[in-house]
Each structure stands twice: as structure tokens, then as C-alpha cells.
């Protein structure tokens, strides 16, 4: 209820204050590396331009009434004087204007009337008079609204402009003229620094304003019409371009990565740009043993020392492998360091930007999974419109990638499984066991990786990022080469583990003892006893598993963009394949056990080890990221195994439960916390019964809140305040005595506005008054010109009363992506709640030391 009301207010906020306040240093952005502006257009507004103008004007006027009301409600004699003066002044000016011609008759018909008398409040009858006064003001404004309805838009605006200029107490040419404000924003106001939270509510307001302006001009000329059409389409255009670019880049990356992987091994002499497989595209080597060899493809040993076999060539290949691995690593880290330092944030930016849908869509060939991924992980401010646009971006990206066809198999992914063998009920047990393994791995990985990253962040070790990358690469290369399963490209490894052993497979994983004379049809191979090749493969896989588990802890978070999805999946796939082969052999040798009896007769194909690898991969990924829905969708899109949703669901759910038992955070949340981004996670529930007054600053023992008053501070005062404090925004109140809230001004805006005023406006000196009010107070004649900063004032900051439950406040912050919220009591400003206050409070209620949360 309350949040709804607040939202409603936000909807109308700043309608006549178009240049709204800018970003603050207050919050670090919750990690948006690529921020797609999905809010650029309000296409639904295209047709109702005039309606929204009226709405805007009505809103302006009612706002004016509100402001007057506020003034009128001041229960001190000065307040009454002020309003009387203001009303008189307004009245005189409007009369003067209407008498001077210029549409006066139609604009204000009651020009001949006497000004409304406002009586000085006598004690005791204050309420009645208060009501009386308000009624008058409101009547007048209602009348104005009705009058204005007959005028055209320009006339309305002009009328309003005059109106406001008048209320500004003379000086008609001053910069507060409404139209001037719309046209010339102060440069720099309204922009964001890196890693700062985007104020979506404010952006939405600004966008509405811009849209209204464009729509109002629409009918003027064909050019304006085109502009408005472009405006309506720009959001979709951006999304389309994003999709196109992601698709094309994904194609480029797929092809180039394949090529570079094989470059470590050798090179295609006939055409340098082909990888191993493409090089041997048309080769006629017909035997199974020779299938990977062709004359065009040369290993480095063949090229350098001229022999393809023997220990010498092995060592030569080993050396070249390490050499290439090190040079790629060095290349990557120096490119990152010189051109794009932010690229080293492994994984976190991709989580929170809406463009991640397109990214995941092409990176993993899972368009729907990508959209769901951004929905599940982009936790706040995700309107449906964004969902549709992400969906569209994912579609375009997938389409582009498909047309490039980087894998040559007409699929988006490398590991597409083609088997459709059924699974049986008893297999749920090993699947759940794999889920447990995934959860344990996830918990271990998160702890170890965070501990390592913390070490890197806080100790001397972090001073040598380049060296670290090189060392990790060297160790990986040295250990990886001897084991065929780690030497392989990880995607290839996953593909091999996912594949079922048909009769055509040549890898040692499929070295079963075959019954040569069986005349069965190819598709249905019965369970077979494992051959020596399988046993040695299992040993190698175990070693690979240990190696991968250890290395992944160190590689994630390193200063090159290194991923998490593929290594986690590889670990799960290795574990799953081992379990799968074990269960298969168990079923073969003990097919009379009661669990196997029903399904696994001799000669029946009942266990598919590839399926276990798939389930294991999903479980491990689930344990690390704690995703559920989107993960299952991604995996089944990735593998095309639609039949296997139930095993996947069982494993992913188990892994989430097991992981959550050891610590509730996923890897992304853990890294967000490690880096101290003030991020309110939508997944955490807030269940305490505290009130806003318990959380807000200042506390009882603290010094009073740093505030600005609307018209009696000088430029110097404000500059001192900015220099002395580190706050990122200041509430503006009417006066120190009344403490009534006027608005909120952000530090960044204040600094920029004062700086630009000192440069560009004449007569602004340190002792100039700063005025946030609509009219300047009467100043002595010799005093310097006042600086008007109403344009940077946020006139409708979010407020809650001190008795609002924190549960609701937290919800407001999450749903709207707020950065701060003011707390009032009986309309007086009491304090402020920032997102960091909430996070500290949450840490406190969770019995953590609130000081342990680092914020930058």
C-alpha cells in the first residue's frame, strides 16, 4: 500500500523541474559494466502526447497548490505573513499582466477582482482560517486549470511561464524561466560516474519529460515527426544492434578461440586460418587410428625438429604448448591492463546488466536461458518491457550466430547431445548424489575462492597482477599437457564427456570390450564390460578432476576475464561421467540386484554415462551460482535433452539445498560482498520488526543532519558544507526553525552547478545567497545577485514516516532501486536512510559486525 503511494508520487515527480539532480557518489554501482539503456523510449506515449501534456500541467499546478499548502500550514505567524505576501504579490502581478494585454482576458478572467484577503491568524481560530485560506488558493488554481484547458500547449506553457516568473518575485529575465530551464541544462548534471547506481526512477522521469517534449513538437514538421518516430523506436533499435553485435562477436570469438586452441598444438600449412578439424576437412585418411592426422596439419615438433613421433617430439610439443599458453596469457593481461581495466571483473558485470541476456544467449547458445538468467540474477528493477527487449536481443543474437554457423554443425552450441535413451527411476539416486557433490563443490569453491580473493585484495600479493596471471598460466600449462583430458579445450572435453559411446567413437572413454559378432542395430548398444582403455581413462579423469578443482579456485577473479560456467561444468561433467561409468559397470556385473532387476537385463541398454555427465555439470554449476530455473533451461537448451528435465531439476535442487546449508550466498553475491558494493539482494528476506526511526541517521548521539536551507545560505556556506562532509546529498529544508522538507540536492549536482555558475554567471561571489525557493527573499539593495539552484533540486524525494516498518522500506528500496529515502515526522525532517544504512542494519540483525561490511 505504502510503497504504491510512494511510487505514485515518484511518477509525478519533477514534472516542472526537468533538469533533475544527478548521481551521487553515494552508491557504487552494483557492477554494471555494460549498461544498456533499455528505458530510452516510452513507446506507449507516442499517441497520447496531448493528454500527457495536460497531465503534466495539471500536475504542475497541483504541485504548486501543494507547495502553497505546505507554506500555508506553517503554524507560525511568519508563515502566515509569507503566504499573505506571496498571494498578494501573485495577485498584483497577474493583474498587471492581464491588464497589459497579451491574452490577459482569456488567461485570467478575474483580473478586476480584488485580491483575496488573508486574515492574520488569531489564536484559537487558526484551523478554520487555515482551511479557509487553502480553499481560496485551491479555488484559484482550479480555476486556472479550467482556463488553461482551452488554450493550446504553447499558450499554456507561456501562461505558466509568466505565472512562475511572477511568483519568482520580479526579475522576469532571470534564468528561472521555465522554458529556459527545459532547453539549457547545466552540462554534467544528470550523468553518472563509473560504478554508480543508476537511479531508475529519476531516469524514468527524465525520459518522460523528454518524450513529452518531442511529442509536443511532433505535429510541427515532418522532421519533428521523424524524430518522434525515431524516439519511439530507439529502444528497440538499441536492442537490435546489441543482439547483432553480440551474435557477430560470439561468432568471431568461437572461430578465433578454436583456432587459437589448436595453435598450441600445431598449424595448418595449406591454410593458416584453419584449425585442426577444418584443416583436415577433406582428408582421406580412412582408418580409425589415423582419423586425426592429415598431411596438411603439422604439429610444432614436426615443423621444428622434423619428427612426429618419439620423446623428442613430445618434449618439443610440450615446450611449444607452454610457450603459447604463456604468450596468450601475457597478451590477455597486458591488453586488459592497457586498454580495459574493467574487463578483469570476472563475471560480475555480466550478471547485472540487462544485456547479459544476449550475452548468455550466444555464449552458451541458450536464448531462453539467457533471458531467464537475467531475470533471475538481475535482481531489481526489471520491468516486463525489459524482459521483452532482452528476449528480442537474445533472439537477434542467436539468429546472427546461427547464420555464421561457427561450429559447422548448424547448432548454436558445441555440445549438443543426440541420444534420447530413457532414464529409469532408480537412477534418481545417483543423480541426487551428483547434486550433493555439486552443492559441496559449490560451497567449497565459494569459500576457497573468496578467501583467496580476499588475500589478493588485502595483502602484498595483489600488487603483481600480471605476474600472477603468468604464474597461473604457466602452472596450468605444465600440469595440463601430460593429461589428455586437461590438454583438451575445456568445451571439447565437456562435449566428449557428454557424448554417449556409440560404435563410432574412438576415444578411450569408449573402449569397451565389444562383442564383434553382435548383429544388433547401431542405436541400441547394450551395457558392456569396460575395457582397459576405460579404466585408464577413469584414472586420468580423476586426476583431471582434482586439477580442475584446484585451478578453478585460483583462476576465477584473476586479472583477466576468466569465466566460471565452463570450468564448473567441466568439473561436474568429469565427476558425472565417473559416477556414470561406475553405475554402468555395477549394473552390468550385478544385474540381478533388486534395483537393477526390473530394467537392466543382460543385453539391455539401461545406463547412459553421458547423461550422468550432463546432470553433474548442471549440479556443479548450480552449486556455484545457486541458480535454479534458468540453469535447468540453459542446460537443456545447451544439450537439447528435453527428456532429462526431471533429473536436471532433481540434481540442481539438491545442489542448491546442500550448498545453502553451508552458506547462503552464491558466488556472485559473495564477490559483491567482498568488493563492498552496496547491493540489496532481492533474494534475501527481511523479517525483523524494526521501524524506519531505528535505522535512520542521525542516531541520538550523532550530530544533527547536514541540511541546506532553502533561501538563507550563501555560496560559501554550501561550499564549506560540501568540503567538510562526505555526504552525497543534502536535504533542503525551509528553515532551521521549521525543519520542513523542501527537497533533496545531490552533492555532485551542487558542485557542478556552483562551479558553472561561478564561471558563467556574472555577479556570483562567495557571499551570494543560494536560493532553492521559487522566489528570492527580499535582499538589501547592495547585496550580490542570488544564485538560483531550484533546477537541481529534487522536489519529490522519497519520504517515509518514522513509524514505517523496515520491511516496507526495504521493499521500496529494492523495487524502485532507490539510493536514499528521507524520514519525516509530522512533516518535519527527522533523518535519512541510505541503502548502506539498510545493509548495515541487515548485517546487524544477522548478528554480524556491521563494521565488517566494507563500502568503498
Amino acid at each position: 500500500m505504502e510503497s504504491e503511494q510512494l511510487f505514485h508520487r515518484g511518477y509525478y515527480r519533477n514534472s516542472y523541474n526537468s533538469i533533475t539532480s544527478a548521481s551521487s557518489d553515494e552508491e557504487l554501482l552494483d557492477g554494471a559494466g555494460v549498461i544498456m539503456d533499455f528505458q530510452t523510449s516510452e513507446d506507449d506515449n507516442l499517441l497520447d502526447g496531448d493528454a500527457s501534456i495536460d497531465e503534466g500541467i495539471e500536475c504542475m499546478l497541483s504541485k504548486f497548490v501543494d507547495d502553497t499548502k505546505l507554506t500555508g500550514a506553517v503554524d507560525s505567524p511568519e508563515g502566515w505573513d509569507t503566504i499573505q505576501k506571496e498571494l498578494d504579490k501573485l495577485w498584483k502581478k497577474t493583474c498587471a499582466a492581464s491588464k497589459a494585454g497579451d491574452r490577459g482576458d482569456s488567461f485570467l478572467p478575474h483580473s478586476g477582482e480584488t485580491p483575496p484577503a488573508v486574515l492574520h491568524p488569531a489564536l484559537g481560530s487558526q484551523d478554520r482560517k487555515d482551511a479557509n485560506l487553502l480553499e481560496q488558493v485551491q479555488q484559484r488554481d482550479t480555476k486556472m486549470i479550467t482556463e488553461l484547458e482551452h488554450l493550446s500547449y504553447e499558450e499554456k506553457l507561456r501562461g505558466l511561464g509568466t505565472h512562475y516568473t511572477m511568483t519568482n518575485g520580479g526579475n522576469i529575465n532571470s534564468s528561472t524561466h521555465l522554458l529556459d530551464l527545459l532547453d539549457e541544462p547545466i552540462p554534467g548534471v544528470g550523468t553518472y560516474d563509473d560504478f554508480h547506481t543508476i537511479d531508475w526512477v529519476r531516469e524514468k522521469c527524465k525520459d518522460r519529460e523528454r518524450h513529452r517534449r518531442i511529442n509536443s513538437k511532433k505535429k510541427e514538421s515532418a522532421w519533428e515527426m521523424t524524430k518522434s518516430l525515431y524516439d519511439a523506436w530507439s529502444g528497440w533499435l538499441v536492442v537490435t544492434l546489441t543482439g547483432l553485435a553480440s551474435g557477430a562477436l560470439a561468432g568471431l570469438i568461437d572461430i578465433a578461440a578454436d583456432w587459437m586452441t589448436d595453435l598450441k598444438e600445431g598449424i595448418c600449412l595449406s591454410a593458416l586460418w584453419f584449425n585442426h578439424e577444418q584443416c583436415c576437412w577433406g582428408s582421406n585418411e580412412t582408418t580409425f587410428e589415423e582419423r586425426d592426422k592429415c598431411p596438411q596439419w603439422k604439429t610444432w615438433a614436426e615443423l621444428i625438429i622434423g619428427q612426429a613421433e618419439g620423446p623428442g617430439s613430445y618434449i618439443m610439443n610440450y615446450i611449444m604448448y607452454i610457450f603459447w599458453a604463456l604468450s596468450f596469457a601475457f597478451l590477455a593481461v597486458s591488453l586488459v591492463k592497457v586498454f580495459a581495466p574493467y574487463a578483469c571483473g570476472s563475471g560480475i558485470p555480466e550478471v547485472l546488466s540487462a544485456a547479459s541476456a544476449a550475452g548468455v544467449s550466444v555464449a552458451f547458445g541458450a536464448p531462453i536461458g539467457g533471458v531467464l538468467f537475467s531475470l533471475e540474477e538481475v535482481s531489481y528493477y526489471f520491468p516486463l518491457k525489459t524482459l521483452w527487449r532482452s528476449f528480442f536481443a537474445a533472439l537477434v543474437a542467436a539468429f546472427v550466430l546461427r547464420s555464421i554457423n561457427p561450429f559447422g554443425n548448424s547448432r548454436l552450441v558445441l555440445f549438443y547431445v543426440e541420444y534420447h535413451t530413457p532414464w529409469y527411476l532408480f537412477e534418481l539416486l545417483p543423480f541426487i548424489l551428483l547434486g550433493v557433490f555439486g552443492g559441496l563443490w559449490g560451497a567449497f569453491f565459494i569459500r576457497a575462492n573468496i578467501a583467496w580473493c580476499r588475500r589478493r585484495k588485502s595483502t602484498k600479493f595483489g600488487k603483481y597482477p600480471v605476474l600472477e596471471v603468468i604464474i597461473v598460466a604457466a602452472i596450468t600449462a605444465v600440469i595440463a599437457f601430460p593429461n589428455p583430458y586437461t590438454r583438451l579445450n575445456t568445451s571439447e572435453l565437456i562435449k566428449e564427456l557428454f557424448t554417449d559411446c556409440g560404435p563410432l567413437e574412438s576415444s578411450s572413454l569408449c573402449d569397451y570390450r565389444n562383442d564383434m559378432n553382435a548383429s544388433k542395430i547401431v542405436d541400441d548398444i547394450p551395457d558392456r564390460p569396460a575395457g582397459t582403455g576405460v579404466y585408464s581413462a577413469i584414472w586420468q579423469l580423476c586426476l583431471a578432476l582434482i586439477f580442475k578443482i584446484i585451478m578453478t579456485v585460483f583462476t576465477f577473479g584473476i586479472k583477466v576475464p576468466s569465466g566460471l560456467f565452463i570450468p564448473s561444468m567441466a568439473i561436474g561433467a568429469i565427476a558425472g561421467r565417473i559416477v556414470g561409468i561406475a553405475v554402468e559397470q555395477l549394473a552390468y556385473y550385478h544385474h540381478d540386484w533388486f534395483i537393477f532387476k526390473e530394467w537392466c537385463e543382460v543385453g539391455a541398454d539401461c545406463i547412459t554415462p553421458g547423461l550422468y555427465a550432463m546432470v553433474g555439470a548442471a549440479a556443479c554449476l548450480g552449486g556455484v551460482t545457486r541458480m535454479t530455473v534458468s540453469l535447468v533451461v540453459i542446460v537443456f537448451e545447451l544439450t537439447g535433452g528435453l527428456e532429462y528435465i526431471v533429473p536436471l531439476m532433481a540434481a540442481v535442487m539438491t545442489s542448491k539445498w546442500v550448498g545453502d546449508a553451508f552458506g547462503r550466498e552464491g558466488i556472485y553475491e559473495a564477490h559483491i560482498r567482498l568488493n563492498g558494493y552496496p547491493f540489496l539482494d532481492a533474494k534475501e528476506e527481511f523479517t525483523h520488526t524494526t521501524l524506519a526511526a531505528d535505522v535512520m541517521r542521525p542516531r541520538r548521539s550523532d550530530p544533527p543532519l547536514a541540511v541546506l536551507t532553502q533561501d538563507n545560505m550563501t555560496v560559501e556556506d554550501i561550499e564549506n558544507l560540501i568540503n567538510e562532509t562526505s555526504y552525497n546529498g543534502f536535504p533542503v529544508i525551509m528553515s532551521k526553525e521549521s525543519q520542513r522538507l523542501v527537497g533533496f540536492a545531490l552533492r555532485r549536482d551542487l558542485t557542478i552547478a556552483i562551479e558553472s555558475a561561478r564561471k558563467k554567471q556574472e555577479g556570483i561571489v562567495g557571499s551570494s545567497r543560494v536560493c532553492f525557493a521559487q522566489h528570492t527573499p527580499s535582499l538589501p539593495a547592495e547585496s550580490p545577485r542570488p544564485l538560483k539552484l531550484r533546477s537541481i533540486l529534487d522536489m519529490s524525494p522519497f519520504t517515509v514516516t518514522d513509524h514505517t516498518p523496515m520491511e516496507i522500506v526495504v521493499d521500496i528500496f529494492r523495487k524502485l532501486g532507490l539510493r536514499q529515502c528521507l524520514v519525516t515526522h509530522n512533516g518535519r525532517l527527522l533523518g535519512i536512510i541510505t541503502k548502506k544504512d539498510i545493509l548495515r542494519h541487515m548485517a546487524q540483525t544477522a548478528n554480524q559486525d556491521p563494521a565488517s561490511i566494507m563500502f568503498n
Binding site: L244, I255, A271, W281, L331, V338, C344, N405, G408, L504
Partner: protein
Amino acid sequence: MAARGARLCSLLLLAALAGLGTEAKNSEDVRCKCICPPYKDHSGHIYNKNVSQKDCDCLHVVEPMPVPGPDVEAYCLRCECKYEERSSVTIKVTIIIYLSILGLLLLYMVYLTLVEPILKRRLLGHSQLIQSDEDIGDHQPFANAHDVLARSRSRANVLNKVEYAQQRWKLQVQEQRKSVFDRHVVLS
């Protein structure tokens, strides 16, 4: 500027790839691959032939047939034939684009880290060298972005605008590098 550059690159790439799509297919780029498992005393074999999709089956591809007439059907039942196509031009162009982007970046990187500080030292001359000693002592690339920025602000023609944008980008990257690598504030 970096963002603009990236956009330009991706647009170029898009255009290149769009052009490729319409190009006539290279006849070398299709193959029908049949994998035949061991059968009786014949070992497994792989057959590879450049035929159209409708002809991609064991009977057309496996030549010469290793088994006598009556066994052909049984042998062919076990073979798995796959029709595959690729675009060698796409691969070629992609790798060339990739390598040229990489090469350009590398060259620019070398220029920024090695050549520019030397040039700057020579241009500044000896008199200023003493004054701005601490400035040059910083061997980070872009270390001089600040003063160039200040100088270029005063003049205004197209070339200077480009220079200004470049310096602004340098400053941004420098700031980012500081916050990531030195202060460990973000993205640890």
C-alpha cells in the same frame, strides 16, 4: 572513444559477415562423412566424399565397398553418414579480422607504453625535464594525459577535438587502472 571504436569494429565485422552470407558457396565446403564400425574381419573405416545432401548415404559414399554384395546392406546399416557444411571464407575473414584487430591493438599498446614516453622526453627538452621530473618518473602509459588535456582545451579545431577525446579516454582508463590495480576498490 574506446566504446565508439568498439562499435565501429563490430559494425565493420557485421558488414563483412553479411557480405559473406550472400557469397556463392565454395564447392569444397561440403562433405559427407561416413563412419563405418568394424564389421566381421574388416576394421573400422572413415569415408569422406564431396557430394550433395541427398546423396549422402552409405551406398553413394562408401567406395569401394569392402564387403561382397550380400553383406552390403548389413554393413551399411551400421555406418553413420553425416552431411556437414562450413564456410571457409567466413573462417578466413574472421581470423584475418581478428588478427588485424589484435595487431592494431598491440601496435597501439607498444606505441603508448614505449614510444610515447620517449617522444615526450625528447620534445620537452632538457630545461623542462628537470621541472617535471616526477611526472616523467611515472612510467605508466598515459602518464601525461593531464597536461595534454589542459593544453588542448584552449584550442579548438577538429584535430584538437580528436586529440581531446583521446586524452579524455586516456584519463578514464588511467583512473580505471588506478581503482582496479592499485587501490583494489572495485573488481578484486
